[in-house]
Symmetry: C2
Subunit: 282 residues, 2 copies
């Protein structure tokens, strides 16, 4: 099984590690804009061969793990180049624009729209880790538009990597994911910004910040190259979540200004309920 990974960073590289471990016969081909990434991926043993778009006719599986705007640009071309029985799936954090892009492509049935909810705040091939996907949710959109045999091929990979599958339409995916992922990133980036702006003397931040702060701003380490395109793709949904978030923050501030600490207490108590919801998410 020849697996081409387009974008051999954290996400693509972690697929490479797990697929090599799960499929004896897998050969991994790396494709990346960055020659340095390719060389690193090769020396780290993530890939067996460096390749490029011209090599795609060899592929049995193509995994597209690049920023979502770049995926929109290249997905049709990739589909043009692959064999009839090749599975192409992407792993992007938005799905609507991608599904629209290839809606009328003659090889639409070779494409599977996937979103494994997995990652870390790091990036590049050296950030790739084993078992990143184990126990994680993989959201598949428009599964009915993928050829049955290729659905099966995809599910075999996802299953051996330990993912659980959820099916969803792309519009619902983008709407929900704005709340549970995209908004978290903005809240974290803006929290980091607010503190950095205020605390010019960084030694003070470092000394006073505890694990709570570290946890809340962890996502502010994420890659802008990955996230700016996600926000662009999911603009309407993200703006809606931001409006609601800002309005909740304004209300909290008003409660404080009015010394209504009973209400502040209630707000927090109601939200403590997140404990139950979060159980089971690592």
């Amino acid at each position: 099984m020849k697996v081409f990974i387009v974008g051999i960073g954290l996400i693509g590289g972690s697929f490479a590690i797990d697929i090599k471990a799960a499929f004896n016969e897998a050969e991994i081909y790396g494709v990346d804009q960055s020659e340095e990434h390719l060389d690193n991926a090769l020396s780290l043993g993530l890939i067996d061969h460096k390749s490029n778009f011209e090599g795609l006719d060899l592929a049995d599986v193509v995994i597209v793990a690049i920023p979502v705007d770049a995926t929109v640009e290249v997905l049709s071309d990739i589909l043009n180049k692959v064999k009839d029985d090749c599975l192409v799936f992407d792993v992007g954090s938005t799905k609507k624009k991608l599904c629209e892009t290839v809606m009328s492509h003659p090889k639409r049935r070779n494409y599977l729209a996937a979103h494994p909810i997995a990652g870390t705040e790091f990036s590049g091939p050296q950030a790739a880790i084993a078992n990143l996907y184990r126990g994680k949710t993989n959201i598949i959109c428009e599964v009915e538009k993928t050829a049955f045999k290729l659905q099966e091929k995809g599910m075999e990979i996802f299953s051996r990597l330990g993912m659980r599958i959820r099916y969803m339409d792309p519009v619902s995916h983008d709407k929900h994911i704005a709340y549970v992922s995209h908004l978290s990133h903005i809240s974290s980036f803006m929290l980091g910004k607010t503190v950095i702006e205020k605390e010019k003397n960084e030694r003070d931040i470092f000394d006073m910040a505890g694990s709570g702060f570290a946890s809340t701003v962890r996502l502010a380490k994420s890659s802008p190259a990955m996230w700016a395109p996600i926000f662009k793709h999911n603009k309407e949904n993200v703006i809606e979540t931001l409006q609601e978030y800002i309005s909740n923050l304004n209300q909290f501030k008003e409660f404080m200004e009015n010394d209504d600490f009973d209400e502040i207490y209630k707000e927090m108590e109601n939200t403590n309920h997140i404990k139950t919801i979060l159980k089971g998410i690592s």
Copy 2:
């Protein structure tokens, strides 16, 4: 050494564990409003004896680990009751109001205002853990107002528990801590609220939420009984941080509305700088 711990929850209980491990001769007395907490603390082996305010004249050290508003209420009374060579320190997340409260107390020199930057999102005696304080910062305010011998006694405890000490005046403490701790909690609580409100179908949140979301809303599990009084004590500073945070979020939203994704990219890139600042915070 007889150590009285007023409030035998996560923070007080974790002190109990480490002090027993670090001082052979330590005997731990628990004082708590909740009889159930006291019984749990005893059966968990956190304390050697249940006690109450009437027993405080036996104490060599008193650690006050209750919500900051309750500390304001009882601190003078505790100072009234202890021996002349007894050290009393609190561990609250605000320091200005506390220092003011005992400013003119005849036993002001028995009190040390401390804030160990340590904790988890859990609470109660069963949440107490060993080594919670190891490698953490402990901020001491107005150290010059504590008797020299009692400063030494405090430092001996903090040093054996592995804390590093920073000295700060209470006004600066409350101002900085609003940014690096209090604001994180509000951003997390309101993020949790926003998502819970929107996603009535909790199964969807659970399935789509990844470790990024979990990390960002972790603090929304925190105890309202602890946090409402902190926000009350630090009202002005917290409102200021909230204003700046909301204004940064509004600006981000405007960039999105204007399709200015270059600016969005820059915002994130500048904030990535938090990586360097966070290095070393666990």
